[in-house]
Protein backbone atom coordinates (compact mmCIF):
# COMPACT_ATOMS: atom_id res chain seq x y z
CA UNK A 1 0.00 0.00 0.00
CA UNK A 2 1.10 3.54 -0.64
CA UNK A 3 -0.30 6.93 0.10
CA UNK A 4 -1.52 9.08 -2.76
CA UNK A 5 -2.15 12.79 -2.68
CA UNK A 6 -5.41 13.49 -4.46
CA UNK A 7 -6.98 16.76 -5.58
CA UNK A 8 -10.74 16.88 -5.99
CA UNK A 9 -12.19 19.93 -7.72
CA UNK A 10 -15.92 20.46 -7.44
CA UNK A 11 -17.75 22.91 -9.65
CA UNK A 12 -21.27 23.58 -10.78
CA UNK A 13 -22.42 21.57 -13.75
CA UNK A 14 -22.44 23.36 -17.10
CA UNK A 15 -25.77 25.09 -17.50
CA UNK A 16 -26.27 25.65 -13.77
CA UNK A 17 -26.18 29.38 -13.03
CA UNK A 18 -23.07 30.40 -11.08
CA UNK A 19 -23.80 33.83 -9.57
CA UNK A 20 -20.50 33.77 -7.66
CA UNK A 21 -18.43 33.20 -10.79
CA UNK A 22 -20.42 35.83 -12.67
CA UNK A 23 -19.89 38.40 -9.90
CA UNK A 24 -16.13 37.75 -9.86
CA UNK A 25 -16.01 38.08 -13.64
CA UNK A 26 -17.84 41.42 -13.53
CA UNK A 27 -15.34 42.74 -10.98
CA UNK A 28 -12.28 42.00 -13.12
CA UNK A 29 -12.48 44.93 -15.60
CA UNK A 30 -12.57 47.38 -12.69
CA UNK A 31 -9.18 45.99 -11.63
CA UNK A 32 -7.77 46.41 -15.12
CA UNK A 33 -8.09 42.78 -16.22
CA UNK A 34 -9.71 42.77 -19.61
CA UNK A 35 -10.29 39.77 -21.81
CA UNK A 36 -10.98 37.34 -18.95
CA UNK A 37 -14.15 35.30 -19.33
CA UNK A 38 -15.67 31.97 -18.37
CA UNK A 39 -15.08 32.42 -14.63
CA UNK A 40 -16.64 29.56 -12.66
CA UNK A 41 -16.37 29.37 -8.87
CA UNK A 42 -15.93 26.02 -7.15
CA UNK A 43 -14.25 24.19 -4.31
CA UNK A 44 -11.02 22.23 -4.06
CA UNK A 45 -10.27 19.39 -1.62
CA UNK A 46 -6.92 17.73 -0.97
CA UNK A 47 -6.95 14.19 0.38
CA UNK A 48 -4.39 11.52 1.15
CA UNK A 49 -5.64 8.10 0.11
CA UNK A 50 -4.02 4.78 1.00
CA UNK A 51 -4.29 2.44 -1.94
CA UNK A 52 -2.44 -0.29 -3.83
CA UNK A 53 -2.05 1.93 -6.87
CA UNK A 54 -2.97 5.24 -8.45
CA UNK A 55 -5.99 3.72 -10.18
CA UNK A 56 -7.39 2.46 -6.89
CA UNK A 57 -6.73 5.83 -5.21
CA UNK A 58 -8.66 7.50 -8.02
CA UNK A 59 -11.56 5.06 -7.64
CA UNK A 60 -11.79 5.76 -3.91
CA UNK A 61 -11.65 9.53 -4.47
CA UNK A 62 -14.26 9.39 -7.20
CA UNK A 63 -16.60 7.33 -5.04
CA UNK A 64 -16.39 9.67 -2.06
CA UNK A 65 -16.70 12.70 -4.33
CA UNK A 66 -19.96 11.43 -5.75
CA UNK A 67 -21.35 10.47 -2.36
CA UNK A 68 -20.25 13.47 -0.32
CA UNK A 69 -18.03 16.16 -1.81
CA UNK A 70 -20.31 16.98 -4.74
CA UNK A 71 -24.08 17.07 -5.02
CA UNK A 72 -24.58 15.43 -8.43
CA UNK A 73 -27.85 17.34 -8.93
CA UNK A 74 -25.93 20.59 -9.43
CA UNK A 75 -22.22 19.82 -9.20
CA UNK A 76 -19.52 17.69 -10.80
CA UNK A 77 -16.18 16.58 -9.43
CA UNK A 78 -12.83 16.23 -11.18
CA UNK A 79 -10.27 13.94 -9.52
CA UNK A 80 -6.49 14.27 -10.05
CA UNK A 81 -4.00 11.90 -8.43
CA UNK A 82 -1.03 14.16 -7.72
CA UNK A 83 1.68 11.88 -6.33
CA UNK A 84 2.88 8.40 -7.23
CA UNK A 85 3.28 6.58 -3.97
CA UNK A 86 4.95 7.11 -0.63
CA UNK A 87 8.27 8.40 -1.95
CA UNK A 88 6.64 10.90 -4.30
CA UNK A 89 6.81 14.64 -3.72
CA UNK A 90 3.83 16.47 -2.32
CA UNK A 91 2.91 19.09 -4.86
CA UNK A 92 1.96 22.63 -3.97
Amino acid sequence: MAEFEVLVEVQLRPGIADPQGATIERALPALGFSGVSGVRAGKAFRLRVEAAGAAEAREVAEALSTRLLANPVIEQATVSVLTLGEAGPVLG
Partner: protein
Protein backbone atom coordinates in the same frame (compact mmCIF):
# COMPACT_ATOMS: atom_id res chain seq x y z
CA UNK B 1 -54.50 12.22 22.74
CA UNK B 2 -52.49 15.02 21.20
CA UNK B 3 -50.58 14.38 18.01
CA UNK B 4 -46.88 13.88 18.82
CA UNK B 5 -44.46 15.62 16.50
CA UNK B 6 -40.73 14.97 16.67
CA UNK B 7 -38.68 18.10 15.99
CA UNK B 8 -35.27 16.92 14.83
CA UNK B 9 -32.33 18.88 16.23
CA UNK B 10 -28.88 18.74 14.62
CA UNK B 11 -25.88 20.61 16.00
CA UNK B 12 -26.52 24.09 14.58
CA UNK B 13 -30.30 23.82 14.23
CA UNK B 14 -31.83 27.01 15.64
CA UNK B 15 -35.57 27.07 14.91
CA UNK B 16 -36.62 24.03 16.96
CA UNK B 17 -38.26 25.95 19.83
CA UNK B 18 -40.20 28.22 17.46
CA UNK B 19 -41.50 25.18 15.58
CA UNK B 20 -42.40 23.42 18.84
CA UNK B 21 -44.28 26.47 20.10
CA UNK B 22 -46.23 26.87 16.86
CA UNK B 23 -47.21 23.18 16.89
CA UNK B 24 -48.30 23.36 20.52
CA UNK B 25 -50.33 26.48 19.78
CA UNK B 26 -52.33 24.23 17.44
CA UNK B 27 -52.79 21.55 20.09
CA UNK B 28 -49.95 19.29 18.99
CA UNK B 29 -47.34 17.90 21.33
CA UNK B 30 -43.77 18.63 20.26
CA UNK B 31 -40.80 16.54 21.27
CA UNK B 32 -37.23 17.57 20.46
CA UNK B 33 -35.28 14.69 18.90
CA UNK B 34 -31.48 14.92 19.06
CA UNK B 35 -29.69 13.89 15.88
CA UNK B 36 -28.01 10.85 17.43
CA UNK B 37 -31.41 9.27 18.20
CA UNK B 38 -32.07 6.11 16.21
CA UNK B 39 -35.65 5.30 17.24
CA UNK B 40 -38.69 7.44 16.42
CA UNK B 41 -41.21 5.18 18.15
CA UNK B 42 -44.38 6.89 19.30
CA UNK B 43 -44.06 9.88 16.99
CA UNK B 44 -46.82 10.73 14.51
CA UNK B 45 -44.92 13.28 12.40
CA UNK B 46 -41.47 14.81 12.05
CA UNK B 47 -40.27 18.34 11.40
CA UNK B 48 -36.69 19.15 10.40
CA UNK B 49 -36.47 22.80 11.37
CA UNK B 50 -34.27 25.59 10.08
CA UNK B 51 -30.79 26.59 11.11
CA UNK B 52 -27.31 25.56 10.09
CA UNK B 53 -27.08 21.80 10.68
CA UNK B 54 -23.44 20.82 11.23
CA UNK B 55 -22.48 24.41 10.45
CA UNK B 56 -23.66 24.02 6.84
CA UNK B 57 -20.11 22.74 6.22
CA UNK B 58 -19.48 21.49 2.69
CA UNK B 59 -23.09 22.29 1.63
CA UNK B 60 -26.24 22.85 3.68
CA UNK B 61 -27.52 19.40 4.65
CA UNK B 62 -24.55 17.49 3.23
CA UNK B 63 -23.23 16.34 6.61
CA UNK B 64 -26.61 16.22 8.38
CA UNK B 65 -27.66 13.60 5.87
CA UNK B 66 -25.25 11.19 7.59
CA UNK B 67 -26.41 11.93 11.15
CA UNK B 68 -27.57 8.73 12.91
CA UNK B 69 -31.21 9.90 13.08
CA UNK B 70 -31.48 10.09 9.29
CA UNK B 71 -31.78 6.31 8.82
CA UNK B 72 -34.86 6.39 11.06
CA UNK B 73 -36.20 9.52 9.31
CA UNK B 74 -35.82 7.73 6.00
CA UNK B 75 -37.68 4.68 7.27
CA UNK B 76 -40.40 6.86 8.83
CA UNK B 77 -40.88 8.71 5.53
CA UNK B 78 -40.94 5.58 3.42
CA UNK B 79 -43.56 4.06 5.72
CA UNK B 80 -45.82 7.04 4.99
CA UNK B 81 -45.17 9.14 8.09
CA UNK B 82 -45.48 12.90 7.54
CA UNK B 83 -42.06 14.60 7.37
CA UNK B 84 -41.64 18.34 6.83
CA UNK B 85 -38.34 20.11 6.21
CA UNK B 86 -38.32 23.85 6.76
CA UNK B 87 -35.51 25.93 5.22
CA UNK B 88 -32.33 24.11 6.32
CA UNK B 89 -34.55 21.07 6.92
CA UNK B 90 -35.63 21.25 3.25
CA UNK B 91 -31.95 21.31 2.26
CA UNK B 92 -31.34 18.24 4.45
CA UNK B 93 -34.24 16.35 2.81
CA UNK B 94 -32.91 17.06 -0.70
CA UNK B 95 -29.39 15.97 0.28
CA UNK B 96 -30.91 12.80 1.79
CA UNK B 97 -32.73 12.16 -1.51
CA UNK B 98 -36.11 12.18 0.23
CA UNK B 99 -37.03 15.10 -2.04
CA UNK B 100 -35.74 15.80 -5.56
CA UNK B 101 -33.61 18.76 -6.65
CA UNK B 102 -31.21 20.99 -4.75
CA UNK B 103 -31.13 24.41 -3.13
CA UNK B 104 -28.49 26.65 -4.62
CA UNK B 105 -27.20 30.06 -3.60
CA UNK B 106 -29.76 32.80 -4.15
CA UNK B 107 -29.67 34.61 -7.46
CA UNK B 108 -27.88 37.88 -6.74
CA UNK B 109 -25.92 36.29 -3.86
CA UNK B 110 -28.07 38.09 -1.31
CA UNK B 111 -29.03 36.65 2.06
CA UNK B 112 -32.80 37.12 2.24
CA UNK B 113 -34.72 37.82 5.43
CA UNK B 114 -38.14 39.18 4.57
CA UNK B 115 -41.86 38.51 4.48
CA UNK B 116 -42.92 36.97 1.17
CA UNK B 117 -46.24 36.21 -0.41
CA UNK B 118 -46.84 32.59 -1.34
CA UNK B 119 -49.47 30.94 -3.47
CA UNK B 120 -50.73 27.45 -2.73
CA UNK B 121 -49.96 25.47 -5.90
CA UNK B 122 -51.24 22.05 -4.85
CA UNK B 123 -53.33 20.58 -2.05
CA UNK B 124 -51.66 17.18 -2.41
CA UNK B 125 -49.16 17.60 0.40
CA UNK B 126 -49.22 17.11 4.16
CA UNK B 127 -48.86 20.90 4.55
CA UNK B 128 -51.47 22.07 2.09
CA UNK B 129 -54.27 19.49 2.33
CA UNK B 130 -57.55 21.37 2.44
CA UNK B 131 -56.10 24.65 1.19
CA UNK B 132 -57.54 25.85 -2.09
CA UNK B 133 -54.87 26.17 -4.81
CA UNK B 134 -54.39 29.85 -5.60
CA UNK B 135 -54.82 30.89 -2.00
CA UNK B 136 -52.23 33.43 -0.92
CA UNK B 137 -50.27 33.24 2.33
CA UNK B 138 -47.79 35.63 3.95
CA UNK B 139 -44.84 33.74 5.45
CA UNK B 140 -41.25 34.97 5.93
CA UNK B 141 -38.09 33.56 4.34
CA UNK B 142 -34.62 33.65 5.87
CA UNK B 143 -31.98 31.99 3.72
CA UNK B 144 -28.91 32.27 1.52
CA UNK B 145 -29.37 28.98 -0.32
CA UNK B 146 -33.02 28.82 -1.33
CA UNK B 147 -32.78 28.88 -5.10
CA UNK B 148 -34.55 25.64 -6.02
CA UNK B 149 -32.84 23.83 -8.89
CA UNK B 150 -33.67 20.57 -10.61
CA UNK B 151 -33.31 19.04 -14.06
CA UNK B 152 -35.93 19.89 -16.71
CA UNK B 153 -37.28 16.33 -16.43
CA UNK B 154 -37.68 16.55 -12.66
CA UNK B 155 -39.37 19.96 -12.92
CA UNK B 156 -41.78 18.65 -15.55
CA UNK B 157 -42.65 15.65 -13.36
CA UNK B 158 -43.18 17.85 -10.29
CA UNK B 159 -45.52 20.10 -12.28
CA UNK B 160 -47.53 17.33 -13.91
CA UNK B 161 -47.91 15.38 -10.65
CA UNK B 162 -49.03 18.37 -8.59
CA UNK B 163 -45.92 18.17 -6.41
CA UNK B 164 -45.07 21.86 -6.56
CA UNK B 165 -46.74 22.74 -3.27
CA UNK B 166 -46.06 26.46 -2.85
CA UNK B 167 -44.83 29.18 -5.20
CA UNK B 168 -43.50 32.67 -4.59
CA UNK B 169 -45.81 35.34 -5.96
CA UNK B 170 -42.68 37.46 -6.57
CA UNK B 171 -39.62 35.24 -6.93
CA UNK B 172 -37.02 36.47 -4.41
CA UNK B 173 -34.16 34.01 -5.01
CA UNK B 174 -34.20 32.73 -8.58
CA UNK B 175 -35.97 29.44 -7.81
CA UNK B 176 -36.97 27.44 -10.87
CA UNK B 177 -40.70 27.83 -11.61
CA UNK B 178 -40.94 30.20 -8.58
CA UNK B 179 -40.88 27.08 -6.39
CA UNK B 180 -41.00 27.68 -2.62
CA UNK B 181 -41.92 24.11 -1.64
CA UNK B 182 -42.24 20.61 -3.11
CA UNK B 183 -43.42 17.19 -1.94
CA UNK B 184 -42.69 13.56 -2.73
CA UNK B 185 -44.98 11.26 -4.75
CA UNK B 186 -47.10 10.32 -1.73
CA UNK B 187 -47.31 13.91 -0.44
CA UNK B 188 -46.14 12.89 3.04
CA UNK B 189 -42.64 14.37 2.67
CA UNK B 190 -42.67 18.13 2.12
CA UNK B 191 -39.90 20.71 1.97
CA UNK B 192 -40.26 24.48 1.90
CA UNK B 193 -37.93 27.44 2.28
CA UNK B 194 -40.37 29.83 4.07
CA UNK B 195 -40.79 29.50 7.84
CA UNK B 196 -44.42 28.77 8.85
CA UNK B 197 -43.45 28.91 12.54
CA UNK B 198 -42.45 32.55 12.09
CA UNK B 199 -45.96 33.34 10.87
CA UNK B 200 -47.78 31.79 13.79
CA UNK B 201 -49.41 34.82 15.39
CA UNK B 202 -50.48 38.38 14.68
CA UNK B 203 -47.62 39.62 16.87
CA UNK B 204 -45.25 38.19 14.25
CA UNK B 205 -47.00 39.99 11.42
CA UNK B 206 -48.90 36.98 10.10
CA UNK B 207 -50.53 33.83 11.34
CA UNK B 208 -50.74 32.23 7.90
CA UNK B 209 -48.07 29.68 8.87
CA UNK B 210 -50.61 28.01 11.13
CA UNK B 211 -52.73 27.29 8.03
CA UNK B 212 -49.84 25.10 6.81
CA UNK B 213 -49.05 23.42 10.13
CA UNK B 214 -52.67 22.54 10.86
CA UNK B 215 -52.99 20.11 7.91
CA UNK B 216 -49.72 18.52 9.06
CA UNK B 217 -51.28 17.68 12.43
CA UNK B 218 -54.33 16.36 10.61
CA UNK B 219 -52.27 14.09 8.41
CA UNK B 220 -50.24 12.95 11.43
CA UNK B 221 -53.43 11.99 13.28
CA UNK B 222 -54.68 10.10 10.25
CA UNK B 223 -51.39 8.31 9.82
CA UNK B 224 -51.24 7.36 13.48
CA UNK B 225 -54.69 5.87 13.09
CA UNK B 226 -53.37 3.71 10.27
CA UNK B 227 -50.09 2.86 11.92
CA UNK B 228 -51.72 1.55 15.07
CA UNK B 229 -54.24 -0.55 13.17
CA UNK B 230 -51.67 -2.72 11.47
CA UNK B 231 -48.36 -2.82 9.63
CA UNK B 232 -47.52 -0.04 7.20
CA UNK B 233 -47.80 -1.28 3.66
CA UNK B 234 -47.88 2.05 1.84
CA UNK B 235 -44.51 1.24 0.30
CA UNK B 236 -43.73 -2.41 -0.30
CA UNK B 237 -40.80 -3.55 1.75
CA UNK B 238 -41.07 -0.64 4.19
CA UNK B 239 -41.01 -1.57 7.82
CA UNK B 240 -43.20 -0.13 10.52
CA UNK B 241 -41.30 2.62 12.36
Amino acid sequence: MAVRVGVVVFPGTNCEHDVAEALERLGGQAQLVWHTTTSLDGLDALVLPGGFAHGDYLRPGAIARFSPVMAAVNEFARAGGPVVGICNGFQVLTEAHLLPGALQKNRGLTFLCQMVELEVASDRSALTAGLVPGRRLRVPVNHFEGNYTASAEVLAALESEGRVVLRYVTNPNGSAHDIAGVCNEAGNVVGLMPHPERASGELLGSSDGLLLLEPLLGRAAGWRGQSTSGPQLLVSGASNP
